[in-house]
């Protein structure tokens, strides 16, 4: 009875908590710098069980899990390289704002959006 199941409460972060977190790259994810293009990240596609079962039906013995490549632009590559586990989100924002001479508001908006996108794909975790 999925319809009447109690909705899971999603834990919410305050802004202060989110800024104090340290984003770290997922060790399972492989990445390399492609000259003149930026960083290319390759990650295993996380399929929902329904789609995984369909895939299994067409390809019963897959040799390897499906992967996807993500090409980051210059700014994305810079931030990706900064995700070494030594900087908090606040440090990333400050460094990025200072490096590009932009306001903290612009830096915060772009960095948090970027981290959220990486998080959705399972490429980073917050410590």
């Amino acid at each position: 009875m999925g319809l009447f199941r109690k909705k899971k409460r999603i834990p919410t972060f305050t802004r202060e908590q989110a800024l104090a977190c340290t984003p770290v790259r997922n060790n399972v994810v492989s990445w390399k710098r492609v000259d003149s293009v930026g960083i290319q990240v390759e990650y295993v596609l996380m399929l929902k069980p329904f789609f995984a079962s369909i895939l299994e039906r067409f390809n019963p013995a897959p040799s390897e899990a499906p992967t996807r490549k993500l090409q980051l632009d210059d700014f994305g590559s810079q931030v990706w390289e900064m995700l070494d586990g030594s900087r908090t989100t606040a440090d990333l924002i400050k460094e990025f704002a200072a490096g590009h001479e932009i306001s903290a508001q612009e830096a915060e908006q772009s960095i948090t959006l970027f981290l959220r996108e990486l998080g959705k794909r399972g490429l980073i975790a917050l410590r």
């Binding site: 400050k94 001479e101 612009e106 908006q109």
Partner: protein
């Protein structure tokens, strides 16, 4: 002895202006809601409303206090105004309250005696004494609503003088592209700032960027100098008549300027359904620029 804080920048936003230390960052939360931060920690919050002409029912100030009490879940206890606010007495009616939440040191409601606009100030506890004891920060607060002149805007690294009659429609401070949009009954003004310009110019030429911004034919673009482009669109008499029926804004003046020393491109587009006054264009053109920020240590310490 009190330590005074060096002031390097003035913030002007939607009818209010204020001098703040250079180390503070301005966060534009809403059309009339600013938060000032230092090292990503909030220092001071400002919220205000446009003066209302409605004389019935509770005043704007009373409604704000009621809302604060609702948020706090209890009655707010009036407090003595801090020293920095006492100098304000001739211009503002002042009401101060104890903390409505744990993160806030104190809040004060100023009501402009001239125009009646209510301004709510929230002082954050970590920096409360530093902000409140220095009269320069709050003392520089100016309400432009009743001045009846062009208003001065300065936010992040852009500043300009907005001709009278325009009101803020929307704003966006995305990375790489900041834009502000204003309107009057007949005109629409859009200001933009591209940063860093070098990154944008890697992908598109200066002319291409301008053609896309001004919505003009590249052949009609006028090259003022190496770093400045302009487009002026004046419709013919036939187009003017047809445009009038659809209330289309066919008169256009757009300008783009590459400020290489700051690695910025700034531009504006003014569209109107009526012929554009040269004074309006001149005011925007002359005043719109990048603020040169001085790098000095002006941190305040909690």
């Amino acid at each position: 002895m009190e330590k005074t804080i060096p002031f390097q920048k003035t913030i002007g936003w939607n009818g209010l202006s204020l001098a703040i230390p250079a180390s503070w960052d301005t966060i534009v939360r809403d059309d009339r809601h600013l938060i000032f931060e230092q090292e990503l920690r909030p220092v001071l919050e400002l919220r205000w409303e446009l003066p209302s002409s409605n004389s019935y029912g509770p005043t704007q100030g009373e409604r704000i206090i009621a809302q604060l009490q609702k948020e706090a879940g209890r009655t707010l206890i009036p407090a003595d105004p801090p020293r920095s606010l006492i100098g304000f007495t001739p211009d503002y009616h002042i009401q101060c309250f104890n903390p409505p939440s744990s993160s806030t040191g104190e809040c004060a409601l100023l009501t402009c005696i001239t125009c009646g606009a209510p301004i709510l100030l929230k002082f954050y506890s970590d920096f409360y004494h530093q902000v409140v004891t220095d009269p320069k920060i709050i003392g520089s607060l100016t309400c432009w609503h009743a001045k009846g002149t062009d208003s001065q805007w300065a936010v992040h690294d852009i500043s300009f003088r907005l001709p009278q009659g325009f009101s803020l429609d929307s704003h966006s401070f995305r990375f790489g592209l900041s834009s502000l949009s204003f309107s009057t009954r007949t005109s629409q003004l859009t200001l933009c700032r591209l940063a860093p310009a070098s990154e944008h110019l890697k992908r598109n030429s200066f002319q291409e960027l301008f053609a896309s911004f001004s919505k003009s034919d590249p052949e009609q673009i006028e090259i003022i100098d190496e770093h400045t482009l302009q487009y002026t669109g004046v419709p013919g008499i036939g187009a003017r008549l047809i445009g009038r029926l659809g209330r289309r804004k066919l008169f256009v003046v757009a300008r783009f300027k590459h400020i290489s020393q700051h690695d910025r491109i700034i531009g504006f587009r003014l569209e109107s359904s009526q012929p554009i006054q040269p004074d309006t264009v001149q005011t925007i053109q002359d005043s719109y620029g990048i603020i040169q920020e001085e790098k000095t240590d002006s941190h305040i310490h909690p």
